[in-house]
Every structure is written in structure tokens, then in C-alpha cells.
């Protein structure tokens, strides 16, 4: 017997369900696997990063200007990958454009296609273009070779740098930011609606689901911006702008308080109203999802960052800058993991019990194969790879212009 056969037999020997599940539910994998966990996670990061960038444009929070472009580029990098998990999961990915060509308007998934296209084309790319246009023109004049060619192409032939033209750029950028905020909420609200609209599943069918998804998206996106900023400063051997960092973390803390409150309220309501399926949910939370829900999501991903960041709000000024940065880095890493686990608990947790409410299924994840570990992991790494390229081309420190070097940051010697 080959190793592969042995492993397959071993996996098949473990019971796939306990109690009673409808015969069509007794599969080794849940229908929506880890790929569908990655899909709302990545989409949420886009929405959250954009909200962080919008704080600069719409609310005119000057202290956050240093991370404006980084936040937008982060949103773009993740946006480009947002639909890939869904696409990889389709039974017929070659028919994916039918969603756009012959959409079924009562389907949240069909509407997501349009919201995604609107957000990418009409919001994110346009805002980036208006913000970068002046730089594109200047860089196209100074840079040679491939870089020069890319910048020239991105000017789209609009090389007017007169005062009225630049004023129009700024005005358009702000206008698009204002439109972008509801669009970002819509983008991720729809993802939440995909799950919240399924009344067949008591774990999902919940009016608070879109709101929970939006809030956790904002939290994860903001955490990603802090994480990316700290990481970028570390790779460039510069010290982060602490005023900017402290403010980002303050917004992150407020968002986390709101998110934790609504999620707590959701559970409180579930437990108090004790509707059909509550026993199933309680069993899942205390057994199959104990580590991912109670330990990972609730304790490490929410409570610990809440306490640490809350303490930093109260007495953070007394903590040395280096330690502050370490705490922020740890907290954002925990929050990012916690939100990923939240997506896992929703997507996988919602499929671990039978719709007959009489039995439970088991999810055994493989490494290889289309539903294995490797593909979701790759799709989580891919946006970071794209972000690296984007930073190299559009946030490079050698580019001769205003705020491109993790602006606001200072070399270690001057910190």
C-alpha cells in the first residue's frame, strides 16, 4: 500500500459525521471550504484599509497623511485578489462572467460582482489615479526604462500640471473618497449578506451578520495598515512616525470596541432568545470550535488586544516608543489572526452541523488538492506579494517626490 493510499484510508476511517445528517450533507469536506474563509477575509481587509485612507481625505485627519498612500495601495493589492478564492472554488470557473453578463438580481452573490466592479474601477483605481497623477507626470519625466514607461502609461496622456488641474485632482480625490466610504461598507456588507441571507442555517441567518462583517472588516483593515506600516518601517530601517501610529491605533481601538460590542450583543441575543438551533451552536462553541472561537477569536484576537490597546490609550505615553511599537505590532498580528479565525468560525462552523439539527460533521483539511491548505495559504500570501511590487513602483524611497518614503518616518539616528 502506498503512503497516499494509507493516508486516504486513514482519513476515511475517521467518522465524517455524528448523529444524523441529511445524506447529501455527509461529505468529507464542507461545501464551502477554506477558500471561502479567505474570500470574506481578503474583501474585509480591502474595505478596512480604504476606510483608514478615507480618514485622511474625508475627515482630514492630518496626522494620518503618512499612511494614506500605503493604505490605498494595500486596499488595491488585496482588492485584486479578492475574487480569486471564489473563482478557484467554482465548479465551473470558466462560466464566472455569467455573473456579470446574466446576473440574477435577487442573488447577493450576483450583486457582489457589480459592487466589486464598482469599487475597483470607480472608486479605488480612480482615487489612486487622481492622487498619483501629478507624481506620474513628474516621474515619467525623470525615470527611464520600464519604470518610465509604466509611469508614462499611467498618466493616461493627461500631463497638465497647472494649478487648476491639480486643484481638480484634489477635489475629485476627496469626492471619490466620500463616495468610497459607503461603497466600502456596501462591498463588505454584501459579503456579510451572502451568509446572513441564508435562513436555512441558524448560524448564518442573522440580521446582524452584515454589520458584524463590516465592523470586523474595518478592524482587520485598520490592523493591516498598522501592521504594514510597521513592517515597512522595519524593512527600510526607519523609525515610524509615532504621532501617526498612535492615532491609527486609537482609531483601531475604537473600531475594535464597537466590533466586540456588536459581536457580544449578537451572542447575548442568541443565548437569551434561545431559538431553534441554540443548543447546536452552544455545543459547537464549546467543542468543535473551542480553540478557534473561544480561544483564538474571543480571547487572543479580541480580549487581549482590547486590554493591551485600552491600556495604551490610558497610559501609553509613559511607555517607551520601541515598546509601544512592539505592543502595536503584536496586537495587530493578533487582531488579524482573530478576524481570520472569525471568518473560519462563520464559514466552516456554519457547516459543521446538519440542517436537520440532529448531527455534526467533521472538517478534515488536506494539504494537497484543490481544497487543501496550499491554495488558501497562497491566496493569503499573494496580496502581500502584489503589495510589495506596488510599493516598489509607487512608494519607493528613491522616487523624487513629496511623501513617498514611508513619509513622516525618520531615520533611526534622528529618532
Amino acid at each position: 500500500m502506498t503512503d497516499t493510499n494509507m493516508i486516504t484510508n486513514l482519513v476515511e476511517a475517521v467518522p465524517q459525521f455524528s448523529g444524523y445528517a441529511y445524506p447529501n450533507e455527509r461529505t468529507l469536506h464542507p461545501l464551502w471550504s477554506a477558500l471561502i474563509v479567505v474570500y470574506p477575509y481578503v474583501t474585509g481587509l480591502v474595505a478596512g484599509a480604504f476606510i483608514m485612507a478615507s480618514l485622511v481625505r474625508v475627515l482630514k485627519v492630518k496626522a494620518l497623511e503618512p499612511i494614506y498612500r500605503l493604505a490605498l495601495l494595500t486596499a488595491l493589492a488585496f482588492m485584486l485578489c479578492a475574487t480569486l478564492p471564489l473563482l478557484c472554488h467554482l465548479g465551473h470557473p470558466e462560466r464566472c462572467f455569467e455573473i456579470m453578463l446574466t446576473p440574477h438580481f435577487s442573488s447577493p452573490m450576483a450583486m457582489f460582482g457589480f459592487v466589486y466592479a464598482w469599487y475597483l474601477m470607480a472608486v479605488l483605481l480612480l482615487e489612486l489615479w487622481f492622487d498619483y497623477r501629478r507624481d506620474f507626470v513628474e516621474w515619467s519625466r525623470t525615470e527611464k526604462g520600464l519604470r518610465g514607461l509604466i509611469y508614462r502609461a499611467f498618466t493616461l496622456g493627461v500631463t497638465d500640471l497647472s494649478e487648476p488641474a491639480l486643484r481638480l485632482d484634489a477635489k475629485m480625490g476627496r469626492f471619490i473618497s466620500i463616495v468610497g466610504i459607503p461603497s466600502a461598507f456596501l462591498l463588505h456588507g454584501y459579503v456579510g449578506f451572502i451568509f446572513g441571507s441564508i435562513k436555512a442555517n441558524p448560524w448564518w441567518g442573522n440580521v446582524l451578520m452584515p454589520i458584524i462583517f463590516i465592523l470586523s472588516a474595518v478592524v482587520s483593515g485598520m490592523a493591516l495598515c498598522v501592521f504594514a506600516y510597521l513592517f515597512l518601517c522595519w524593512t527600510r530601517r526607519v523609525v515610524a512616525d509615532m504621532q501617526c501610529l498612535d492615532l491609527m491605533v486609537r482609531f483601531l481601538f475604537y473600531a475594535l470596541v464597537l466590533d466586540a460590542s456588536i459581536e457580544g450583543l449578537d451572542w447575548l441575543h442568541k443565548l437569551y432568545s434561545a431559538e431553534e438551533g441554540i443548543e447546536t451552536m452552544k455545543y459547537l462553541a464549546t467543542s468543535k470550535l473551542f480553540y478557534t472561537l473561544l480561544i483564538g477569536q474571543a480571547c487572543l484576537g479580541t480580549l487581549v488586544p482590547l486590554v493591551l490597546l485600552g491600556a495604551m490609550q490610558l497610559g501609553g505615553r509613559g511607555v517607551a516608543e520601541l515598546n509601544r511599537r512592539r505592543i502595536y505590532f503584536t496586537c495587530t498580528a493578533l487582531i488579524l489572526t482573530g478576524v481570520l479565525l472569525m471568518r473560519w468560525n462563520v464559514v466552516i462552523g456554519g457547516q459543521l452541523f446538519s440542517k436537520s439539527l440532529r448531527g455534526f460533521m467533521t472538517y478534515k483539511m488536506e494539504f494537497a488538492g484543490p481544497e487543501g491548505w496550499w491554495l488558501p495559504a497562497l491566496l493569503l500570501v499573494l496580496p502581500f506579494a502584489i503589495l510589495t511590487v506596488l510599493i516598489k513602483y509607487f512608494l519607493a524611497r528613491e522616487l523624487p517626490t513629496i511623501e513617498n518614503v514611508v513619509p513622516g518616518a525618520t531615520p533611526p539616528g534622528r529618532a
Binding site: 444524523y20 445528517a21 441529511y22 445524506p23 447529501n24 450533507e25 455527509r26 461529505t27 461545501l31 464551502w32 471564489l86 472554488h89 467554482l90 465548479g91 465551473h92 470557473p93 462560466r95 464566472c96 455569467e98 455573473i99 446574466t102 446576473p103 440574477h104 435577487s106 442573488s107 447577493p108 452573490m109 450576483a110 460582482g113 451572502i194 441571507s197 441564508i198 435562513k199 436555512a200 442555517n201 446538519s354 440542517k355 436537520s356 439539527l357 440532529r358
Partner: protein, 292 residues
């Protein structure tokens, strides 16, 4: 009055000192253009029925339902009813369905569940004990011996399951491309040449009636044997049932002494999970409260 309004608006929009243009002009809006736009809107509304007919024609041309040419789905309303007390759990319906429709192994368009309700424990204060449900291989090979000692059994019965032909089917509602649809004759169908295989409909069905077909990589479900009923035959499961637990008929064309009409008239019928608002149509007689 509208002229005055237009005049006022024109003055307001052009600002003081503007002269020379027609006072009836508000930007590019004239009375003629307004009327033309209104006529366009009215024309659009009037053209909607025609557009819907065209859309239906295109759908008929594109959607593959296996119905023969000339079959008019609007002239039928198919329904299946199930008599729980008659089902003996032989599993022949499940086997017939799989053979007739080429259903892959471990997937089920119809299946049978066995419910065993135990006697309550002494002094438990309950009217009945625990309910044990099973459906080994969908009941295709029949059922093994009772999972609990006979002395502990309060009652036991079989329940055949299939698509509930919902009036407000959540599965068709969520399909992002409209590959699954409610046919006018009551059947809920999937066009496997159009389905993208996202699985949303499978998640949305509260009855576990849909499955992901590992051969076609699309959603799959009971079609009431659409290729048969549109040719005047009964679904395979109904045809083969030895105890006549499955009753099938056309509500728009009842035959003389119609079994379906008789069944509905003579029984107190119930539907599954009605509280979800899906409007299930498949009628059950003799259903116990423990059945979900």
C-alpha cells in the same frame, strides 16, 4: 403654472444680468424635451410585457429542461404527496431515482429517513423519549435492524424526502446567474449547462435536497423526473413504490377519481419547515412533530 416655474428656474439658474436666451429654457430642458422624455418612459412601461415575453422566449431557447417540443409548462401544476403511514422503507424509490437519473454514488435526489422514538425513561416526566434518526445510504438498500432494543421503542416510521417544490424557493432566489429556476408547472430545475457551481443554492436549501454533482461539477436536485412527467409518465420513484406511499398528479388537469385530489381531501396534510417561509408544496400525511 409649469411655464411660470420654468421661467423662475431659468432666471435663477442663469443668474442676474443674463439676457438673450429663451426664458423657457432651463439648461437643456424644454417643454418639448420633457414631453419627449415622459413619452419615452410611458413607452418603456408599455413595452415591458413585450420585453418579458421576449425574455421568456430567450430563456426557453437557452434553458435546457429536457421537456419535449410542444410541452407547455403553464398548463400544468405538478405536485407530489407522501403518505408516511404507507412507506415501508424498502428503498426501491431511491434506487429507481438513481438509475433513472444517473445520480452519482453517495448523492441523493430522494431518500428515506427512519425515525425511532424511544419510550420515556421511568419517572422522566416526558411523553416520549429520545428520537433516533438514520438513513444508511439514503435507505437505498432498505434498513438494518432497529438501532435500539424493541422493548424501548415507542414508535418507528419511515419518511421519504425529496425536493419540497417551494413556492418561495430560497435556492432559486440566491442563484447568482439564474441557472436554477422555478418552472411554471411547479418543478424547480437546474440548468447544468449554465450553473457555475458556486454551491450557494445548496447552502440555501433548508431541506438538504440539493447536492454538488461530482461528475458535472454543478448543483443537482430532484426534477420530479421532468423528462418523464412532460411526456405523460410518472416520476420513477412514484412508478416503483410498492405501497403507493408516493402520490403524484397534475393539479391543473385532475383525472377521474384523481389520487392526488383524493389524498389531499381525505388527509390532514402538513409541510416541512413551513416556519422558514419557503412555501413548501410537497404534502405529507401522518407526519410526526419530530420530522425536520
Amino acid at each position: 403654472m409649469s411655464e411660470n416655474f420654468a421661467q423662475r428656474s431659468a432666471v435663477k439658474s442663469q443668474g442676474p444680468g443674463f439676457a438673450g436666451a429663451s426664458p423657457y429654457r432651463v439648461k437643456n430642458m424644454t417643454r418639448r424635451s420633457v414631453l419627449r422624455n415622459l413619452a419615452g418612459i410611458a413607452g418603456g412601461i408599455l413595452a415591458m410585457p413585450a420585453a418579458q415575453v421576449c425574455k421568456a422566449a430567450v430563456q426557453n431557447g437557452l434553458a435546457s429542461s429536457n421537456a419535449p417540443a410542444g410541452y407547455d409548462p403553464t398548463r400544468h401544476k405538478w405536485l407530489m404527496a407522501l403518505d408516511v403511514d404507507r412507506c415501508i422503507g424498502c428503498g426501491m424509490c431511491v434506487e429507481a431515482c438513481q438509475k433513472e437519473n444517473g445520480v452519482p454514488q453517495d448523492c441523493f435526489r430522494t431518500w428515506i429517513e427512519r425515525y425511532v422514538i424511544k419510550k420515556p425513561g421511568p419517572e422522566s416526566g416526558n411523553a416520549r423519549g429520545e428520537t433516533v434518526v438514520d438513513s444508511p445510504d439514503g435507505g437505498k438498500e432498505g434498513f438494518p435492524a432497529l438501532p435500539v432494543p424493541k422493548a424501548e421503542v415507542l414508535k418507528s416510521f419511515f419518511v421519504p424526502k425529496l425536493c419540497n417544490l417551494c413556492d418561495h424557493s430560497p435556492c432559486t432566489q440566491v442563484c447568482p446567474v439564474g441557472a436554477t429556476f422555478d418552472a411554471p408547472d411547479g418543478a424547480v430545475l437546474v440548468d447544468k449547462n449554465y450553473c457555475i457551481g458556486c454551491g450557494f443554492c445548496i447552502q440555501a436549501c433548508p431541506y438538504g435536497c440539493r447536492f454538488f454533482n461530482p461528475v458535472t461539477h454543478t448543483a443537482d436536485k430532484c426534477t420530479l423526473c421532468y423528462h418523464r412527467i412532460t411526456r405523460g409518465l410518472k416520476p420513477a420513484c412514484v412508478e416503483i413504490c410498492p405501497s403507493q406511499a408516493r402520490i403524484f398528479g397534475d393539479l391543473k388537469h385532475p383525472v377521474a377519481d384523481d389520487p392526488l385530489q383524493r389524498f389531499i381531501a381525505n388527509n390532514k396534510v402538513e409541510k416541512l419547515k413551513e416556519s422558514l417561509g419557503t412555501g413548501p408544496q410537497v404534502a405529507y400525511a401522518g407526519l410526526d412533530e419530530v420530522v425536520r
